[in-house]
């Protein structure tokens, strides 16, 4: 077969020398992993929806989640604390985007600065979630324990708390592993690993994971606190 370029665009992609999707292998793999994780979280959230749809009564989230740190006993402030948590995660996502962008410009200082902010945001979110868990636990909530009645006044099952702790727990674990990964990224940056490589692609991959964590929170927070 001659080496004359054909009109078909397939020759461009399949003649070798090009990475599939024109994207680095590690990045494609991260996307594939995120797809699998999306289906895991999707399955959890949809099963939560299914169980909720199949029962007559369910606790009112605005009666359950109505406190925040250092608030007086018996305060009624629904949606306040979770809003703060959501904004913390969004801002940490923005600093992550800025870190990735700084990496593209080979701006090591910019990467370090923005990674530090992202890590701080992640730790702040985890602290908030830990407070929420501790607060609810003090009210008697846990896996297998639900002190909150249904909104219509009937007796509730433990489905509410089981789903809440399981799904926010899974998400919190992802945030935690994301923070660990980000700390490793920061250390590698400081050690000039990426300057040596000539690219900050690793930061980009960590960024994909971090944005995924933010994305899942958008769904979790909407399903449990708003809907």
């Amino acid at each position: 077969m001659s080496n004359v370029t054909t009109a078909s665009s397939e020759a461009k992609w399949w003649n070798g020398g090009k990475s599939p999707f024109d994207v680095e292998y590690g990045k494609v793999m991260m996307w594939y992993f995120l797809m699998s994780d999306a289906f895991t979280f999707g399955a959890f959230l949809i099963s939560y929806g299914t169980v909720r749809f199949s029962t007559n009564g369910w606790p009112d989230p605005n009666k359950v989640f109505k406190s925040f740190p250092f608030a007086p006993e018996g305060v009624n402030a629904p949606l306040v604390f979770v809003s703060i948590m959501t904004f913390i995660l969004i801002v940490s996502s923005v600093t992550m985007v800025l870190a990735v962008h700084a990496g593209k410009m080979m701006d090591k200082k910019g990467v370090v600065r923005n990674m530090i902010w992202t890590i701080i945001g992640g730790i702040a979110f985890l602290s908030c979630q830990a407070w929420e868990w501790n607060h609810l636990h003090h009210e008697g909530a846990w896996w297998g324990l639900n002190p909150f009645n249904n909104a219509d006044g009937t007796a509730s099952s433990t489905n509410f708390t089981n789903f809440f702790f399981t799904i926010t727990g899974f998400h919190g674990f992802h945030v935690f592993s994301g923070v660990v990964i980000n700390i490793i990224m920061l250390i590698m940056t400081l050690m000039n690993k990426f300057e040596e490589r000539g690219h900050y692609l690793m930061i980009e991959k960590a960024g994909l994971y971090w944005h995924f964590v933010d994305l899942v929170w958008v769904f979790v927070f909407t399903c449990f606190y708003l809907l």
Binding site: F53, M96, N149
Partner: protein, 147 residues
Amino acid sequence: MSNHDTHSAEHHHEDVIAEIKKVTIILSVLTIVELILGFWMIGIESQGMRLAIKGAIVILMMAKAFYIVAYFMHLKHEIKNLIMTIVVPLALFIWFIIAFLSDGNSFRNLRNNYDRHFKEQSTIKVEEKHHGAAEKHEATEKHEAAH
């Protein structure tokens, strides 16, 4: 590096920062609107109105997901085949959600029709449990006349 290169590199840099700022503002506004709707819903009793507000919240949530995936995760700027690799399976989610929620709903209707105990449970009001106190919680059940 020629002047032209630095100029276009800087220009590109500014464009990217501008895009990041724009998307950040959009995400913040979407979140604030969602929260306003959530607050508004607290006072609403009408089930139809609540459903409409929840529908609006879901649409806003989808918009947020789009902006995060397309711009923060950069998917919009990738080649079409990668975009489709992500979007097409996620489209399956739509079927997944509709199928399972309607299944759950059907299960509830069937149980209400054929499981007397299940239906009765939804009419028995219990006393407000006292939170934060000792493990013992007294719940006295009051029987209300069945429908």
